[in-house]
Amino acid sequence: MSAEQGQRQIRCLVAKVGLDGHDRGAHVIARALRDAGFEVIYSGLHRSPDEVVQAAVQEDVDVLGISILSGAHNTLVPKIMDGLEEYGSREDTLVLVGGIIPDDDKDRLREAGVAEIFGPGASMDEMIDYIEANAPERR
C-alpha cells in the first residue's frame, strides 16, 4: 500500500436490471471483483435502465456488468447502451453481460455494443482476466 500516488483503480458497476430477483450470482461476482482489488458498486435489485445509466455515469465506472436472468436482455441492454451514449460514456465503458443469453441474441447484444457475454459456467478468473486486459484506457 505504498504506491498509491497516481495509482488507478478499476471501478466496476454490477447492475441488476428489470424484474429479476436473482441476485446471488451478482453478489458472488461483486465479492470476487472486490477480492481482485477492484472497486465495486452494487446497484441493488430491480433497477431500471435509466438508473443503471445514472449510476454508471456518476460513478464513472470503467466496467459495467449487467446481470440479467429474466430474458429481457434484448429490450433492456440496448436502452442502457443508448443512455450511455446520451451522456457520452459509451465509448469508454466496458459493458459486460452476465446471464442466460441464447446464442441467437449474443450477436445482437454485441452489435449493440456489449463487449463480452459470460454465461453459466464462466469462471471468475476468466472474467477478472478479461476485465484487466480490456478495461478502457482513460485519459
Partner: protein, 372 residues
Amino acid sequence: MTSGGEESDAAESDTSALEPLIADLLDGSHRALARTITKIENRSPGYRELVSQLHAHTGDADVIGITGSPGAGKSTLVDKLAATYREAGLTVGVIAIDPASPFTGGAVLGDRIRMASNVGDMDVFFRSMSARGTLGGLSTATTDAVKALDAFGKDKVIVETVGAGQNEVDIVRTADTVVVLVPPSSGDDVQMLKAGILEIADLFVVNKADLEGADRTVSELREMLQLRDGEVEVGGHHGFAETTVDVGSGRSEDADDADPEGVEPWDPPIVETVANRGEGIDDLIGAMDDHRAYLVDSGRLASKTRTRYAEEIRTLLREDTRELLAAEIAARGGLDERVDAVAARETDPYSVAEDILAPLADCVTERRERRE
C-alpha cells in the same frame, strides 16, 4: 504543481487536455464532473491543475457532513434529505465513503442501494468513494471532490461516512454542518462518542426513533451535552469524580472553534427521525438551516472557512514534503542499510531521521537567510 511546471511539449499538451474537462464541468456535463472526481481520486497526473482551476468557482454550496456507526441509517437519511431538497428545487451532490479492504484495496460500495428516492434524477449526483488507505489523502480527496460538486453548481453537498477513527473525523470536519447519527439503545456507543465525534457534532440525530430505547438515547445524549456545557449541575449526585471539572479553570479555552468575539456558542439540538419512513426529515432540515443561519450571523462561517483553508494548505504541504522526503530517501539508496544499523544498535531511528533531514533543513535555512 510539482509535475507540470516545465514548458515541455508533454506538459503543454497535458494542460490543454485538462482545461476542456473543467470547461465541460462548468458547462454542466455530468460526465465531466464524474471524470474530474475520478482524476481527483486517482491522483492522476495533472489533477492538481484541475482542482486549482475549480477553486475560483467554489464557495456557494452548503456542505453537510453526516456520520455515525454502521447501520445507523446514514444512507437512508441522505436519500430522504436529497429528495426533500429536490422538492424544494435545490440540486444535491452526495459523496458516500465506504471502507476498502486493507489487503487487496478492493471495495464494495453499497450506499447507492439506499438511494431509492432519487432514481433517474440526474440533479442528485451521487458518488461512492472508497477509503483507499492513503494517509491523510482521503480527506484531501474528499475536500477536492466537494469542490468539484460545488463548482458544478450543487446547492447542497452531503458527505457521508462511517464515523470511526481520525480519518473520518477529518473528513466530516470539511463540512459546514456536521450531523452525527445515533441509533437507539446505544448507551455504550454514546459513551464512545464522547471521545471524538461529540465535539464535532453540530446536530445529533437519533434515527430509528420508532424503536425501543430511542427516548432513553435522547435523554442520554441530552445529559451528555449538559455535562459538556454546564459541568456543575451533575457534580454531586452521580459521583463521576473524573467528569466533575472545576468550572473556574479551563472552561474558557475549552470552547472549540475558538470564537474570540465571544459569540454565543451553538447548542447542538437533538432531532428524532425515522428515515425509512421520512419522518422528522423536515425537522432535521429546519435544524440544519438554523445552524447555517447561526454560522452566518455569528461570523463563524467565515472563520471556519479560513481555518479550513489553512488546514488544507498544511495538509498539502505535508503531503508534498512527504514526497520530497521519499525522493531524498530513494536518492540515498533507501532505508535498508540504515534499518540494519538500527537493528544492530549501531545507531537509532532519531539519529537516522536527523541525518536524512539535516541537508534539507540546511538548504531551507540558507535560502531563507539569502532572502532576508
